[in-house]
Amino acid sequence: MLAGMPAWLAYSLVTILLWGAWGAVFKVASSGVDANTNQIFFTVGLLPLMLVLFPAARHGAVGPQRRAGIAWAFVTGILGGAGNIAFFRALGSGGKVSIVAPATALFPIVTVMLAVTFLRERISKQQIIGFALALVAIYLLSM
């Protein structure tokens, strides 16, 4: 990837670019469409990507590892989509966007707790401070 930069960091930064642009597009699109409809047309936008990924998806050894990996990926999508629906239900059942958006944006807390507990991940002191700062930043940016 980018010179001198670990691949995971370069991919993460590209993700920020893509999702940052997605956030802006979503902001405009959501003014003219309800959340359920948006989810459906959003999925239409995934179809070209699925077509591109299809050849890669056909390759690879078949076995329990592949099945487990596919199952975790599918669970990721279901939980992500169900989380989106829950988010919009929260807004639709009396939650103020100024409270619900910043509060739910703190989801990395759950990821870090699970990753440290179940994946036994260790992170540097700088990363722990960065994580704390990120939580405050995400909260402030979502206000």
Partner: protein, 155 residues
């Protein structure tokens, strides 16, 4: 639980579900490629959308501009999902990668200021500065940090 307002219950579900996905993404890319992971993540989105299409009212007639933006949002989000799977596949820890990529509202806010002519609140100003510092700190790996095999890309 019965004393919990419905909106708080739903918000908590969103928080927990989104938080879990960071770990399930890692568990997936530990076993299969980021492309295959993203392909099946997208299939789950198709399943959810199919469920919605049959159970809730949908606005099928949208203005072409809004329709195009909704589809574009899927393209951008899908590509972002692919690169986030790739970040985890290439050795990034779930705890770091998810915390880092969660800073994407920084860019959304920047685009909104530049192109939608929105103004930042003082809180967002502060949040933007903190996000940049947080991103720099999160990118600093501990040279001696070790982790269990499950936390590494084990394909």
């Amino acid at each position: 639980m019965s004393l919990m307002p419905a909106w708080l219950l739903f918000a908590t579900i969103a928080l927990v579900f989104w938080g879990i996905t960071g770990v399930t993404q890692k568990l997936s890319t530990n076993r299969i490629s980021s492309q295959l992971s993203c392909f099946w993540w997208a299939w789950a989105m198709v399943a959810i959308s199919a469920g919605l299409a049959f159970t809730v009212p949908i606005q099928w007639h949208l203005r072409p501009f809004i329709l195009a933006l909704s589809i574009l949002s899927g393209v951008l989000n899908g590509l972002g999902a692919l690169t986030s799977f790739a970040a985890l596949e290439s050795g990034g820890k779930a705890s770091v990668v998810i915390s880092l990529i969660s800073l994407y509202p920084l860019l959304t806010v920047a685009i909104a200021v530049l192109f939608l002519h929105e103004r930042l609140t003082p809180f967002q100003d502060l949040g933007a500065v903190m996000a940049i510092v947080a991103a720099i700190l999160l990118s600093i790996e501990a040279p001696s940090a070790t982790a269990s095999p499950e936390s590494q890309s084990g394909r």
